[in-house]
């Protein structure tokens, strides 16, 4: 079925049906209830499904794979905003911004089976060793209560699970240590990478491959990348990993996955969660009981659910004896620069990048945050998108497209922000969602170390672009920066129950049968995209739950 507006409205049944014929009743005798079917929840479920009775509840719909091209058309068509592509928005996803910095939450997540990986870019790096010891090594932020060594085997496993094409650390002297190669070879550098490489060589700056959760060859019964060029927000070929892979696998192994089942609160006694109370599209409410619960609802909805689950025993929110639930909200900050050359740069053939620079990452200290640089393959406008907006057609349009496309170059980068107690998610006092629950209220603040590091990243970017001979046309510095859509820190991990929400095993300090699988447990954020670390932690949570049961 074609047409951007022909896809089923996710909120009234992602498959175009009302969903009324789907059985959404609770599963009797469940061992494990997982809240959220993004990569974190899906990996936990898959890990446990063969030997345990697992049920997964997700707030959003099960999207029909046959709609992917029509959704992709939405990404190209000016009539649609990015959140429309995966039906994000409306009452269900209402939120308030109350902080110094605006946070575009609905650009930063997808609700549904597969979670935000349906939309994601798929760049997957390991955190560096120092990221786990920021306080000790860099003099700022807490240390994680676990080390790189604790996660290292799980990182390797996560790379196999997601299917990562990478350079195995061979061409990147700054990557953390690893024993085994990436499961697939890295994507070859792009033509524009070769231009950047010359400039970097002149300046003595390293440039190397970058790990992608995207098939550079057939893997796991999924297609290799075929160059649709629209990875973010839709990969129609399945070459880009998304969490439907592990949801499908968990279901095949016996797990029950219930869509459009937003958990309203977690019922509990003093030291255990007893049931996840969830709503269904028919207006009903159900109780899913289980021996163990894993909350994997993303970095904003996870703390929100805990806050919504307040009780006499936990008046400030469930598992919140520390007062840290919702606090220390962090994202990675974007730093970028771009311009044009007087020669073709061959952009927008693919929608991901193939080269990066981690050279400056470990220079971090009290004043300077870790940051990494990215060399884009999609600088400048895409001709198809340009063609659909404008007052011209025929020959004048073609001329405009020829003028607009062809010579752009751009670099991006991510910068760490420090955890701050006043950067936080709370429940809004005035506004409620479609179910009558208070919406998340975001107060996002950013520290000066991050802002000055963005300037430093810009300096390097501009130097490289100038060496390349580019006319620099834009710089996204401290005033123009924005979030990379990585929600972290809001249920931080700590050895000390007074300082954090979860222990080093990601189990809540307060409740013995409740784990959290999410970047919300990150005590500090580093500057690497978070999802490989989320995946590694989720696999570890799976083992922890299994051992406990």
């Amino acid at each position: 079925m074609s047409g951007a507006e022909s896809v089923g409205d996710g909120r009234s049944g992602g498959d175009g049906t009302t969903g009324d014929d789907v059985d959404r009743t609770p599963v009797p005798n469940a061992d494990v209830c997982v809240v959220g079917a993004g990569p974190a929840g899906a990996l936990v479920a898959d890990r446990l499904a063969a030997d345990r009775e697992v049920v997964v509840l997700d707030a959003g719909p099960r999207f029909d794979p046959d709609d992917r091209l029509a959704r992709r058309e939405r990404a190209i068509r000016p009539a649609y905003d990015r959140p429309d592509v995966w039906d994000v928005g409306g009452e269900r996803d209402a939120h308030e911004n109350a902080g110094e910095w605006f946070y575009p939450l609905n650009h930063a997540r997808v609700k549904g089976i597969g979670g935000s990986t349906l939309h994601w870019q798929g760049m997957v790096m390991r955190l560096h060793e120092d990221d786990f010891n920021s306080g000790t090594v860099r003099g700022v932020g807490p240390d994680w209560p676990i080390d790189y060594a604790d996660l290292r085997p799980y990182y390797a496993e996560a790379e196999r699970e997601l299917g990562v094409a990478g350079g195995s650390g061979v061409d990147n002297p700054h990557a953390p240590p690893r024993e085994e190669p990436h499961p697939m070879p890295a994507f070859e550098p792009s033509y524009s990478d070769s231009l950047f490489a010359e400039a970097c060589e002149e300046l003595g700056i390293d440039i190397h491959s970058v790990p992608n959760a995207r098939n550079s060859e057939p893997y796991d019964d999924r297609s290799p990348c075929v160059g649709y060029g629209t990875c973010q927000p839709v990969c129609p070929s399945g070459a880009k990993y998304d969490a439907t892979v592990h949801v499908d696998r968990a279901e095949a192994a016996g797990a029950t996955v219930i869509d459009r089942a937003p958990v309203q609160y977690l019922d509990h006694d003093a030291d255990r969660v007893t049931a996840a109370v969830y709503a269904t599209p028919d207006g009903g409410e159900h109780r899913q009981e289980a021996d163990a619960f894993v909350v994997a609802a993303g970095g904003v909805e996870t703390p929100r659910l805990l806050l919504l689950s307040e009780s006499e025993a936990y008046p400030d929110g469930l598992a919140n004896s520390s007062g840290a639930v919702g606090r220390f909200f962090m994202d990675h900050l974007f730093a970028g620069a771009g311009g044009t050359l007087d020669e073709p740069t061959r952009q927008n053939h693919v929608g991901f990048y193939t080269s990066a620079c981690d050279e400056f990452y470990d220079d971090a200290d009290e004043e300077r945050a870790p940051f990494k640089l990215e060399f884009f393959n999609y600088a400048g406008p895409s001709p198809v998108e340009m063609a659909l907006s404008g007052d011209d057609w025929g020959d004048p349009l073609l001329e405009r497209l020829r003028d607009g496309y062809g010579n752009h170059v751009a670099m991006g980068g991510l910068v760490e922000q420090l955890p701050r107690a006043d950067s936080r998610i709370t429940l809004d006092d005035d506004r409620v969602d479609d179910r009558g629950n208070p919406v998340p209220r975001i107060e996002w603040t950013v520290d000066d170390r991050a802002l000055s590091t963005i300037e430093r990243a810009n300096e390097v970017q501009v130097a490289i672009l100038e060496e390349l001979g580019a006319e620099v046309e834009w710089v996204a510095g401290p005033d123009a920066t924005g979030p990379a859509y990585h929600h972290m820190g809001t249920t931080r991990m700590s050895d000390d129950p007074a300082e954090g929400v979860v222990d080093p095993d990601c189990r809540t300090h307060d409740l013995e049968n409740c784990w959290i699988a999410s970047s919300s447990v990150f005590p500090t954020s580093g500057a690497m995209n978070p999802t490989l670390t989320i995946a590694a932690l989720a696999l570890r949570v799976g083992d922890g739950v299994d051992a406990w049961l």
Binding site: G3, P344, S389, G394
Partner: protein, 190 residues
């Protein structure tokens, strides 16, 4: 530059329509002139699908394409026809497209006293501008101008510029929306 069958297939792939056997049959019947057969799409569809006759839809779309496509492309007729084979697939989009074409055809009759495809190119362009499709932002649920922009003008532009030949016109042989492989990004300019 000649638009080929491959371009039409690519344009359809870009929007998630393929055109199937049932559609092929319909085209044959269409050629034989039966109006009912012509409007009876691959699936039951919406009753409003039948509002604008298949021949008019196709002829109007080709006539508009001749205005909105650059002068240097050839083979428009067949390209648009094949694109519509898949696009008129019984979806909500197909009925929206038919409706928008119907309104454009009505305006043509009212203002120029002739169907769109019989107007000289300059008048066709005048018609499109008169209806406001040049300055309107596309919107599938909007005013006539916004819907003509969405379903007619932009559907045609999307089809062209997501196809390899359309991409090549601009200098990108693997445009966004076209699965042109994971090698072209590595190659330098020709």
């Amino acid at each position: 530059m000649e638009l080929t069958r491959r371009d039409a297939v690519a344009a359809l792939a870009a929007v998630g329509a393929t055109g199937g056997v049932a559609v092929g049959v319909r085209r044959m019947q269409d050629r034989e002139g039966g109006e009912d057969a012509a409007t009876d799409g691959a699936s039951a569809g919406d009753p409003s699908d039948r509002d604008t006759n298949e021949g008019t839809v196709r002829a109007t779309m080709v006539a508009v394409a001749e205005v909105v496509y650059p002068g240097e492309v050839d083979g428009i007729d067949e390209f648009v026809d094949r694109f519509l084979d898949g696009r008129l697939d019984g979806s909500a989009h197909a009925s929206g497209l038919r409706e928008a074409v119907g309104e454009l055809a009505d305006a043509s009759q009212a203002w120029h006293d002739a169907p769109v495809e019989e107007l000289p190119a300059a008048e066709r362009e005048e018609l499109l501008r008169g209806i406001g499709a040049d300055t309107a932002d596309e919107d599938p649920d909007g005013t006539t101008a916004e819907r003509v922009r969405y379903y007619v003008v932009n559907d045609l532009l999307l089809a062209l510029y997501a196809s390899p030949t359309g991409g090549e016109l601009v200098g990108i042989e693997n445009p966004q929306g076209h699965p042109g492989g994971a090698e072209s990004y590595q190659r330098g300019p020709p």
